[in-house]
Symmetry: C2
């Protein structure tokens, strides 16, 4: 029951193998709290194992997203960012606070109670009114961070 055991199980459940490339990518995602881009991952992975190419990074990220192991965020400005999904990390349910100037992204977990109240009410109401089956939501706050205000 080594380091990759858990991921191996997860992927096998979807009919995929845990290859060296996939494990390396999952390692990068597991060992950061940042929101990393495909290129970020490529840089790190490639430094250790130059045989792993950018194509594989993209392919793997899509696969991991499909299987629900990671989440993809498009914050705008071109590059998508990825992070382990809540079920697959020790992260709590969180949303994002984004600086419009430097594009810094802060995860916040506060206000869960008020959020739950609103989300639940809205979700139930929307499901009824529009007959959607809702399974996800996303909340962003935008503003200027203290560094950008003074800088």
């Amino acid at each position: 029951m080594g380091r990759g055991y858990k991921w191996g199980q997860k992927l096998a459940g979807h009919g995929f193998r845990l290859t060296a490339a996939r494990e390396a990518i999952l390692d990068v995602l597991s060992s950061t709290n940042e929101h990393v881009s495909a290129e970020d991952i490529y840089m790190t992975v490639h430094a250790d194992n130059p045989r792993i190419g950018l194509t594989t990074i993209y392919r793997t990220l899509e696969l991991l997203e499909q299987t629900g192991i990671i989440c993809k965020f498009e914050f705008g400005h071109g590059r998508a960012k990825y992070e382990l999904s809540e079920a697959n990390s020790h992260k709590k349910h969180h949303h994002h606070l984004i600086c419009k100037k430097c594009r810094k992204i802060i995860d916040y977990t506060e206000f869960a109670k008020a959020e739950r109240e609103y989300i639940q009410k809205a979700e139930t109401g929307l499901e009824k009114k529009y007959r959607f089956t809702i399974d996800d939501h996303l909340i962003h706050f935008y503003g200027i961070c203290p560094e950008c205000k003074t800088g």
Copy 2:
């Protein structure tokens, strides 16, 4: 005080002119409730006035976004979508309900009270804790629309 008067005033306030191209683009945005892409706008505008190029569409959209006349949304999947900002249309404050399959986007305005309560609490708390100046927020719900469920 013709049709473009209001926009003329708005743009002049920022030191810009209301040109034929800009008016055509604003007309498209004013006369739809959809979230339109640069290409959508180009098609419509270009049909009437083939001299207006795609470059101008992009340039104008950026200008209109900077001046707060329109909002840009990146729902993912490549192309940005635009709509008149709340202050510049008859739209109420709304958020988005998105079908993951067909990518249909529904604006909803319900649950404003519960939303306000949550947003206000979160915004105030986040401003204090992270010292951000927050001026905007975005809420998306994701799910499957009734057509995609049965289809």
